[in-house]
Amino acid sequence: MLQQLTAVWTFRYFWFSLVKMDLVTRYRRSFLGIGWSLLQPLAMTAVLCVVFSKFNADEKNPNAWRTYAQNLLGAMAVWEFLRNTLLMGCKSFLQNEAYIRLSPLPYGIYPLRTVMGNSFHLLVTLSVLLLVVAVLGSVMIQPTIWAAAPAILMTMLFGWGIATIAAFATTYFHDVSHLIEVSAQAFFFLTPIIYGRELLDAKGLSWFVDLNPIYAFIEIVRDPLVRGVIPTWDRYAYAGGLTVASVGLGVGTIGWLQKRVIFQL
């Protein structure tokens, strides 16, 4: 593993320059350019907010939509990051096949390219979230903002691990990427993103919510930024455990398959 990390560090200029190029290319010919990174999460949240607030109209609390918008944007930011990292990451070896055939770089670099690009968008969305909280929020979040930093780092590492495992699986079986797309759709509705967890708690399904890996990362990133609370240590422990397991399995998969995967490309 140390050899892998050393190699990733040695080629840091290579993969970092590809990340920069990905970000520039993504919005190259669009009118707003990188502004879409700001506008997209806001527009998405605004639409969902209008639609679901109509369904959940509460006359006793006309300002409920303010809380809903902040919680929704926070959850969507983390969800989009993990979903896109997994979907794009699973194709990273296939898309970088030319580089793999040219030079024996560590395989971890290719999912890392995806993770770093998506991390930029995550940070942009969370910055927009802070602005939204400043405008709409009524809770003091300044004392708890710092707690989001280690949570974001854990989310990025978790994303790298699952993207790496998915990349190897997709190289062997191309239909894995389609399975991931379908599973992502299901997970979106199984996770309390567009609805609060109270809906599931009321049905005695709190254990289901607590076990959901996506919701673990949503909680530890969103709550310090939106609700002004630092989640309990057990939630950090669960997310931390998932991160360690994901990174460990990712590194293990690289060690197991790195000498064989090129023959599958």
């Binding site: 040219l102 030079s103 239909d175 090129i262 023959f263």
Partner: protein, 269 residues
């Protein structure tokens, strides 16, 4: 000290005959232990033992499909040996598939940066070389536009210029001497001579047998993944030439009807 040591190396490709196996097929067929899409093994390199010391320049010749490019990629570390040991010491520079691995949406300048970093350059070392690379490619203002608009020849010029800007200890070359237009070929050959003088060890794969005798101190003739002959380039190349059936020279007038023959054809006969 640059060194290449291969000991009993085998490289085997396992391919499916018709198409990729889906996950469903893999699971179901695995359960019932049958296969409608069996694996075909291609033994590309067969029990190869080779030692190259500092100062040696090895040329590899052979028919298409002999395993020459696979051997080169295995030396570069791209294909791990299926069995046997591979030891390559020294900074490796590979010149194969040089027109792939470009980022199409990025400009020529940006691709110089990516490919430079891929070859192990840093911002400091690359800064001094960027203009030299640009000048060698002779692409001028075209370097400012995305490479997806380049012609094949322009891509090869850029790729060759970037790839040969390093100072390698171990140089691995695969058929890059037959690229671009005539003026560029001469320039490329001179650049290759400079690189060979700077490198400690070189392995050249080429169908241009004159290049092998010109540039190499030792030659290997490969066939179906095995070494048929290993020795001085002149002897190996001569043996290889002799093994190819001579082509009987047919006068053009025998194949082009008189009714369409031009005075130019008659003059050449």
């Amino acid at each position: 000290m640059a060194r290449i040591e291969l000991n009993g190396v085998n490289v085997t490709f396992s391919l499916r005959q018709t198409r990729r196996v889906t996950l469903k097929e893999y699971l179901l067929k695995g359960l019932f232990l049958t296969s409608v899409n069996p694996v075909v093994s291609i033994h590309a390199i067969n029990d190869l033992t080779l030692t190259l010391r500092e100062g040696e320049r090895l040329g590899i010749i052979g028919h298409n499909g002999a395993g020459k490019t696979t051997l080169l990629k295995m030396l570069a570390g791209v294909y791990p040996p299926t069995s046997g040991t591979r030891v390559v010491e020294g900074k490796i520079c590979s010149l194969f598939d040089i027109s792939v691995g470009f980022e199409g949406e990025a400009s020529g300048w940006d691709n110089i940066t990516f490919r430079g970093y891929l070859q192990g350059e840093t911002p400091t070392t690359l800064k001094g070389k960027r203009q030299e690379i640009a000048d060698f490619s002779e692409l001028g203002d075209f370097l400012n536009i995305p490479v997806r608009y380049y012609s094949a020849g322009m891509l090869v010029r850029l790729a060759f210029a970037i790839a040969t800007a390093t100072e390698p200890e171990v140089l691995l070359v695969d058929e890059v001497l037959s690229v671009g237009d005539l003026a560029f070929i001469n320039k490329a050959k001179e650049r290759m001579r400079q690189m060979m003088r700077k490198s400690s060890l070189m392995v050249l794969v080429s169908h241009d047998l004159d290049s092998v005798t010109e540039f190499c101190t030792r030659a290997l003739w490969m066939e179906h993944g095995r070494v048929l002959m290993d020795g001085p380039p002149e002897e190996v190349v001569a043996a290889y030439r002799a093994s190819i059936a001579p082509i009987v020279e047919t006068p053009l007038s025998a194949v082009i009807p008189e009714s369409v023959a031009t005075p130019a054809l008659v003059a050449t006969e």
